[in-house]
């Protein structure tokens, strides 16, 4: 958008650009209007320089992009933990591939891949304790795996069967795992950010030493409840860690159209808390930054905003076609594979080999296959699950609706085979 030079004041001029009517005075349906002269449209990017694109020098890093340990930076993690993280990252990638595949075959209805963002998910997951509560986004399967959620539960959710803890009520990937203190995911963007603040306040009120973490995207920072959640956490010094996974896109909207701020981390200043930018493709940097924020929160030092800079290499979801809006300009980031980077690091430390890699893939694939097989053969949720869990007890009017339904069904009505989610 560029400012018009002419002195024309839109409201007052008569000629110039066509304007159907003065405000509040609509033209009648039938009146004649002149044909438009052809116009040369400009489709151009917001001209502001994008301070985040390309380089990652100003980001917190532990591993170099080539997989070397950076001078003076130590992970401080045991071999077991390092390999565990690697395992979760690979498992996430394989699950992604399989689920997208099943979606393409019409065997599940929808999926949200996170390819390229495995480090940000797994690195942060390790920083939390059991007692901590997590409000995840819909794009962090690696976090669940790293935190110990059984993969069968995740697959069951994607099939929406009766083993799904959410009883097939939500679209795939909208998980909820009470056992791991992972709060129910909903589709509306941003609502969970202020809920996390509330949970963190409750932890403080109840005298728990737990903290709360919440994940959201670059797009999520524009939501109302990013604002309300961050502000309230700032004022109350709630033990909350706000994790923005900046994958540089919100469906088709690039980060520089999302906000004009210098970075996402800098938004912390509006709420009186620290903001830290981290290389989100560096699993050890993510761990380090998250751990430090979690420790601070637990120690009563208040909330932190983390910005994990990574890249959404795939489509937004199984319904999205990114070539429509980003063509090929994304190459540079396409090559940054956090798994490869971490693998090189492990190999450089003599912790990993090709043989181990192959065995791991075999094992993880077998596990996914087994889960898929079970899930695909599981029954649908029972008819009555339509009516349960609206309230603790099914009230009379819902029981009546259920009973009418039972009477009515068996009329031969079947699911629409053409119904498919378009986004």
């Amino acid at each position: 958008m560029s400012r018009k030079d002419g002195k024309n004041d839109g409201e007052k001029r008569q000629g110039g650009r066509k304007s159907r009517s003065k405000q509040g005075t609509p033209r009648g349906p039938g009146s004649k209007r002149p044909k438009t002269p052809p116009k040369t449209p400009k489709v151009e990017r917001n001209p502001r320089e994008n301070p985040m694109s390309g380089a990652t020098q100003d980001l917190l890093q532990v591993i170099s992009e080539g997989g070397k340990a950076l001078k003076g930076k130590k992970s401080g993690l045991s071999e077991e933990l390092l390999l565990g993280m690697y395992r979760s990252m690979v498992q996430t990638r394989l699950l992604d591939e399989r689920m997208i595949n099943l979606q393409r075959q019409g065997r599940i209805g929808f999926y949200v891949p996170s390819t390229g963002e495995e480090a940000s998910q797994v690195g942060s997951a390790l920083a939390f304790e059991e007692e901590d509560w997590i409000y995840p986004s819909y794009r962090v399967p690696g976090l669940f795996l790293q935190r110990g959620v059984p993969i069968e539960r995740m697959v069951a959710n994607c099939f929406g069967n009766d083993a799904d803890l959410c009883l097939g009520r939500q679209m795939p990937v909208h998980y909820a795992f009470k056992d791991q203190n992972i709060v129910s995911i909903s589709s509306p963007i941003g609502t969970h950010i202020v809920q996390a603040t509330g949970t963190a306040m409750a932890q403080k009120i109840k005298g728990s030493s737990g903290v709360t973490a919440v994940m959201f995207g670059d797009g999520g920072t524009s939501s109302n409840d990013f604002h309300s959640g961050m502000n309230l956490a700032g004022v109350t010094r709630a033990p909350c860690v706000f994790i923005c996974t900046n994958n540089q896109w919100a469906i088709s909207v690039p980060q520089e159209k999302q906000t004009a701020s210098k970075s996402f981390a800098i938004k912390a200043k509006a709420y009186g808390m620290p903001g830290v930018r981290v290389d989100g493709n560096d699993v050890l940097a993510v761990y380090k930054a998250t751990k430090s924020a979690v420790d601070d929160a637990r120690a009563g030092k208040g909330p932190t905003l983390l910005e994990l800079v990574t890249y959404r290499r795939g489509p937004h979801s199984s319904s999205d076609d990114p070539t429509r809006y980003r063509g090929n300009q994304a190459d540079e980031w396409m090559d940054k594979d956090p798994i490869l980077r971490f693998r090189k690091y492990l190999e450089n430390q003599d912790l990993w080999s090709e043989v181990q890699e192959n065995a791991l893939h075999e094992e993880l694939k077998a596990g996914i296959n087994a889960s898929v097989k079970v899930a695909e053969n599981a029954p649908q949720p029972a008819l009555e699950t339509l009516f349960t869990d609206v309230f603790e007890k099914v009230p009379p009017y819902l029981r009546e609706q259920y009973e009418t339904l039972v009477q009515d069904e068996g009329t031969g009505h079947e699911p629409d085979p053409d119904a498919a989610f378009p986004l």
């Binding site: 795992f177 509330g198 009120i205 502000n231 609206v390």
Partner: protein
């Protein structure tokens, strides 16, 4: 028993529940030292401290969103929205989150919380301090919607709401906040069950349904009708969801004539549901059209408020219609 106002009844209910359950917390704008702009939360911060009586920044979505996070964790928050006209920034949290948390998680996570908010006209509050928003909530599956009409109910229903395992919208009729005092039990165990209507006046000729500040108007209309020799029944719904359908059907089955009464605009309002239920389940007992007395389908005015608000004379006109049909 003591003689108290509706404001005091709310205040007492909060105090009793906060004393007996440390999980009950109150949050909202000006609820702390100021005690709420209507004084419903007066003295709470002095007794329970700033950790449980929280003055929040000016953000309704923040208040309700945070309360959801607290409820999900195991507290029983009672957020206050200063005027129900200002609840809309929180509507996404209410309708997308609070109302659906239990369903979408298969009861893994729940939202036991009560949103208290003053509503309704009659206080010269104009467009944005007078509205009656109940219909926006009654259509949302997962919400319980309660409207007391006097101090006795206000206390008992609020206590029941705070103990409920699911979210409750608690609409307080601000016009009668300080209306004549009433005897209200002080027993800690006293509650009024959610989901039960109350017959405020027994009658045989026609039924008026009402709730909140309109109950008084309905009673007054019945007095006027009595002069014409008609004997009206007033059903105070008390809980809009779940509706006490049984009492509604029972009353119209007896009288065969129904006038519904609400302050909110008429079109697509809550009372339309009452008509629809009767037209679906009891049309054969009806001896006259179902007349609705309601606010006009315009925004709430300031100077002409007294013309806008349903009053007994207007209700009587509707009673006339159904009695002389």
């Amino acid at each position: 028993m003591s003689q108290i106002t509706l404001v005091q009844a709310v205040n007492d209910a909060l105090k009793e529940e906060m004393r007996s359950d440390n999980d009950v917390v109150v949050l909202g704008e000006d609820v702390g030292v100021n005690g709420g702009v209507f004084r419903c939360t007066a003295d709470l911060v002095e007794e329970f401290g700033e950790e449980r009586v929280i003055d929040t920044p000016l953000s309704e979505s923040g208040i309700i969103g945070a309360a959801i996070g607290m409820a999900v964790y195991g507290l029983r928050p009672v957020p206050e929205i200063q005027f129900s006209d200002f609840i809309w920034p929180a509507f996404d949290q209410i309708t997308s989150e609070m109302a659906k948390m239990r369903y979408r998680s298969g009861s893994q996570f729940t939202c036991p919380m009560v949103i208290r908010t003053p509503y309704g006209g009659g206080i010269r509050g104009g467009l944005y301090h007078s509205q009656s928003p109940e219909a926006y909530f009654t259509h949302t599956s997962g919400l319980t919607v309660v409207v007391p009409s006097d101090p006795y109910d206000a206390k008992g229903l609020l206590k029941a709401a705070i103990r409920s395992p699911d979210p409750v919208i608690f609409l307080e009729p601000k016009r009668i906040y300080r209306a004549p005092k009433m005897e209200v039990p002080e027993d800690d165990d006293y509650i009024v069950e959610i989901g039960k209507a109350a017959v405020r006046r027994e009658g045989t000729d026609f039924t008026i349904t009402a709730y909140g500040a309109m109950v008084e108007v309905a009673l007054k209309a019945c007095e006027l009708a009595e002069k014409k020799g008609w004997n009206g029944e007033v059903l105070d719904l008390r809980t809009l969801v779940p509706l006490d359908e049984e009492s509604l059907i029972a009353s119209v089955t007896k009288t065969g004539r129904l006038v519904t009464l609400q302050e909110a605009p008429k079109f697509s309002g809550y009372s339309s549901e009452l008509s629809a239920i009767v037209a679906e389940k009891a049309i054969d007992v009806m001896e006259a059209p179902i007349r609705r007395v309601a606010g006009f389908d315009v925004p709430f005015p300031y100077t002409l408020e007294h013309v806008y608000m349903p009053h007994a004379e207007r209700v009587l006109k509707a009673v006339d219609d159904v009695m002389t049909f």
